[in-house]
């Protein structure tokens, strides 16, 4: 058995880490609802787990999504993660081949060169030795890039980077030391015994005498072990917890487990999976336009993890979802946010008043539901009625006399009981009308109907319906010379993935000029109901900057497909703002 006292720090650290991680994993699985435990079980013992492995390799090791954001950023993470992983795998193989035994001490591969002075004598060992040096070089290149990123984050596609906490900085230092120290230790041993390969042999070949190496060899192996120990002990308390957590997150997510309406094991895994890479920072309009940093997912998730959330971080956010779509780990930041909001609610058992008064009218195959916001922008609902009449649709205006709220504003505010009560009542009112298709002008309602209601009938946004009737030639548009630019509403675009229907309509109506940021990168108008307590001045600052980008296109009309976006953008602007339904109604011929 190979032994030297310097393996003790490493062994202690590694043992601690494994015990901690298994405890954590057990806790997560234990607190899952029964339903989710079954889902997990079924997933793990099915062939679908292979696809999960595939995703783990792609995202946790190779970091494909980061490559898509920026090649340098992707290379840095991929070479560190995959390089280290390969070092462990091939190191294990190397130590087993060398010893000729299937079982050896777990630390053998870590300190292999120290215990095995003989140069590789078989072709297998020579190959392995060469590969190990290659992987070490790969990892060290990642460390060099990581240092460089501190100086020039812009080269890595990031304008701003995360301000790391103290424990993160100490863990980072330990991590950065591990591989240079390993290189030093292996090079020293390599110089003395001539067992270094092309990379770890460099120092030995460069110097004639090995006196220096004899002096530094032993301390270097100690330092290497201590830095590993430091990293392992700090890992569960630092951002490096994302390494194991993300693997579990991918598995859980693939098993079909998601957020609950409280802080759940899944939410906790997401929080621990945040690597604080800071990719979200540049996407946040509140950070860019009004300098509110508490809302930034990287800090907000950290505050959840430290059980130290603040109201500003939870409530000011627009819930636009731009950060979530940028997140390489795909953390569902919006749901994290609204779950945390519940804590800050003063009125958890709110019961809506005046329920009994809402009445919808039935008597048609298609039900048109304007929604509260569309009632506040009546030109949109008048346009929709005109279009439905032109298409000779068998329709009924469900909430002509006024609508019950869909419940989403309360849901977004974390008032889950009130939201559920409203949704239940509204769902019944809609079902009682006996319609076969539901069309709404409000993406907020649409999101709620699609995700929280069980209506069992197709639910369409009016842009989808208009696209349909245009294709069926129920109405035609007379093309004119107007030029349009289009704003993707958060709930319709990022929220529901409806990007093409409005664009297909607009290209039929005139010329569409796209601004710089479109589709999932489109800005929030600033009027989002997602924000509980953003001030008017802050909203206005966001709106002014957002609309500026559309004004720059020099289009005649800024087209939106959300009554709230319209309401937010309308004002003393240099561009006219209209809903897509108004464009079609103005232009439609039977």
């Amino acid at each position: 058995m190979n032994f030297d006292p310097f393996i003790i720090p490493f062994s202690v650290g590694a043992t601690f880490l494994f015990v901690w991680l298994f405890g954590k994993l057990f806790g997560w699985i234990y607190t899952l609802p029964k339903r989710d435990q079954k889902k997990l079980q079924r997933h793990v013992f099915s062939f679908r787990i292979l696809r999960t492995f595939g995703e783990i390799v792609r995202e946790c090791l190779l970091h494909f999504r980061l490559f898509r954001i920026n090649a340098l950023l992707g290379y840095m993470h991929a070479s560190l993660a995959a390089g280290w992983f390969l070092l462990i795998i091939f190191g294990t193989v190397e130590s087993k081949v060398q010893s000729g035994k299937a079982f050896n001490m777990p630390y053998d591969p870590i300190f292999y060169r120290f215990f095995n002075h003989a140069p590789a004598h078989t072709i297998q060992l020579q190959t392995l030795s060469f590969l190990m040096d290659t992987f070490l070089l790969l990892v060290l290149s990642a460390v060099v890039f990581a240092w460089f990123k501190r100086l020039r984050s812009k080269w890595f596609g990031m304008r701003r980077t995360t301000r790391q906490s103290r424990v993160d900085r100490v863990a980072l230092t330990a991590l950065w030391l591990v591989f240079p120290l390993r290189f030093l230790a292996e090079s020293a041993t390599g110089a003395i015994y001539g067992n270094g390969d092309f990379f770890t042999g460099i120092l030995g070949r460069a110097s004639e005498s090995d006196a220096v190496f004899r002096m530094i060899e032993y301390p270097a192996w100690w330092a290497y072990s201590i830095s590993l120990c430091g990293f392992f002990v700090l890992l569960p308390f630092s951002r490096y917890m994302h390494i194991p957590a993300e693997i579990i997150l991918v598995t859980f997510r693939r098993a079909g487990i998601g957020h609950l309406r409280r802080f759940s094991a899944f939410a906790d895994i997401e929080v621990e999976s945040c690597s604080r890479c800071g990719v979200c920072i540049d996407t946040c309009q509140l950070q860019k336009d009004v300098d509110i940093r508490e809302v930034l997912p990287v800090y907000f998730l950290r505050s959840i993890r430290e059980r130290d959330t603040n109201e500003k971080g939870a409530s000011k956010c627009l819930v636009c979802g731009k950060c979530a779509q940028a997140c390489p780990v795909r953390i569902d930041v919006n749901n994290q946010r609204i779950v945390q909001r519940e804590e800050f609610n003063s009125n958890k058992n709110f019961q809506p008043l005046h329920f009994e008064k809402a009445q919808y009218s039935g008597g048609g195959k298609i039900g048109y539901y304007a929604g509260c916001m569309t009632h506040l922008t009546p030109s949109i609902k008048l346009a929709m009625v005109k279009i439905l009449l032109a298409a000779e649709a068998d329709f009924v205006f469900l909430d002509q006399e006024g609508s019950l709220c869909c419940g989403r504003p309360m849901l977004l505010a974390g008032e889950f009981n009130g939201a559920a009560a409203i949704a239940m009542r509204n769902e019944k009112l809609i079902k009682d009308c006996g319609i076969e298709t539901l069309i709404t002008s409000c993406p907020i309602c649409l999101k709620m109907f699609s995700e929280e209601y069980q209506l069992n009938i197709p639910v369409l946004h009016h842009s989808q319906y208009i696209e349909q009737i245009l294709e069926e030639n129920k109405i035609t548009l007379n093309l004119n010379r107007s030029s349009y630019t289009y704003h993707d509403p958060c709930e319709l675009g990022r929220g529901l993935g409806i990007y093409d229907a409005p664009r297909s309509i607009l290209t039929k109506a005139g010329k569409l000029i796209e601004p710089d940021l479109v589709r999932k990168h489109a800005p929030c108008c600033g009027g989002s109901i997602g924000s509980v307590n953003l001030t008017h001045a802050e909203k206005k600052a966001v709106t002014t900057i957002a609309i500026g980008k559309y004004v720059e296109t020099h289009a005649d009309i800024l087209v939106v497909s959300c009554p709230l976006c319209k309401k937010t953008f309308v004002g003393p602007n240099k561009i006219k703002v209209m809903d897509i339904a108004e464009i079609v109604a103005d232009r439609c011929e039977k």
Partner: protein, 347 residues
């Protein structure tokens, strides 16, 4: 003396300041972009709180200036430079005017009510603004709705575009409360069988006799006052309006049918005022009105030397207060041009 004063904007403030400055011996040039002097006063039929005719006040203002000053109509400044305390202003007509002092009296515009889309202005025919109603009154025609019937129920909506952070106007426009009371009375006088409702946040009857007028509206004319802001208006089949309001005194939501809805539109700095701010590099406050050098002691003084302010370009004002302010500006300009020692006082 023979010093020149250029006054930009021939409304109430511009006319009254011209009268005083010319009486004090200055060469006054008054520039007006329309082809008639009088500004908003041309559109107000009767004035609160006395119900006297706007025309009477207008002819009073004309008496002060007609034949005494130079009036340039259909013109507006397009460029301005300052050289040795002289303001050299180029007009859209091409004429260049040199003045020792400039007085900005470009005033206000009424809030564009279509920005509150939920109130239906520009969408539903029977939603009008207070300015539209005034024109209906002064036209002398019979009061009818768009469907040609005599309105039975008329709602006056206070604070449209005022005290409303959502549209970016946090200030009170001062005149709308009492204008609504005045217009409700006028309506009742014309249509005694119609019901009039005022929907208010709180009533600001701060002027002398305003409260009397409010009492008269309730006691003599039966105008009903409901505390609550309009949430939305929808149109019925017969083109009447269904409005949703919360009665905040009883805490209950109301749905009411109205034949005519009058939106009491507030003040915003006029386009001319905004343009002058750019041209003369004048500071504007958070409300976008021109900034006074001091809210207490230098209300007529702008942020640029030799450029003065009067009337509603610096804040919402009543006609009375605008006239007073114009005279104060005339005194301030005289003091500045005569280099009185009181000019040395610090704010």
């Amino acid at each position: 003396m023979g010093k020149d004063v250029l006054i930009i904007g021939g409304g109430i403030a511009g006319m009254e300041a011209s009268a005083y400055l010319s009486a004090m011996g200055y060469q006054v040039t008054l520039v007006e972009k329309a082809n008639e002097l009088g500004g908003h006063l041309l559109r107000w039929e009767r004035l609160f709180p006395t119900q006297r005719h706007g025309k009477e006040v207008l002819s009073f203002l004309h008496c002060g200036i007609d034949g005494k000053i130079r009036v340039i109509k259909n013109a507006e400044p397009v460029a301005a430079v300052t050289r040795d305390d002289l303001h050299i202003v180029t007009l859209s007509t091409g004429e260049v005017i040199t003045a020792n002092a400039v007085l900005i009296t470009t005033g206000y515009k009424t809030f564009d009510a279509s920005r509150k889309e939920e109130y239906g202005y520009g969408i539903y025919n029977n939603v009008v603004t207070s300015a539209d109603l005034e024109e209906m009154f002064s036209s002398g025609k019979e009061m009818l709705t768009s469907s040609g019937i005599v309105p039975r129920r008329v709602g006056f909506i206070h604070c449209v575009g005022s005290r409303d952070e959502k549209v970016g106007n946090i200030y009170c426009s001062k005149v709308c409360c009492v204008t609504a009371v005045k217009q409700a009375i006028e309506l009742k006088e014309r249509l005694p069988y119609a019901e009039a409702f005022c929907f208010y946040m709180d009533l600001r009857m701060y002027g002398m006799h305003f409260e009397e007028l409010y009492k008269e509206a309730q006691e003599k004319h039966g105008v009903q006052f409901i505390r609550g802001r309009l949430s939305e208006a929808a149109e019925n089949q017969d083109h009447s309006l269904l409005i949703k309001v919360e009665d905040t005194l009883t805490g209950r939501p109301l749905k009411m049918k109205m034949d005519l809805l009058v939106l009491m539109v507030g003040f915003e700095p006029s386009d001319g005022t905004q343009k002058m701010a750019e041209l003369f590099h004048l500071e504007t406050g958070s409300t976008r009105f021109l900034k006074m050098a001091d809210e207490h002691t230098s209300t007529n003084v702008s942020s640029v030397q030799g450029v003065f302010l009067a009337g509603t370009c610096s804040a919402p004002r009543t006609i009375t207060s605008t006239i007073t302010d114009a005279r104060a500006a005339a005194a301030k300009i005289t003091s500045y041009l005569s280099q009185y020692s009181i000019e040395q006082r610090e704010n």
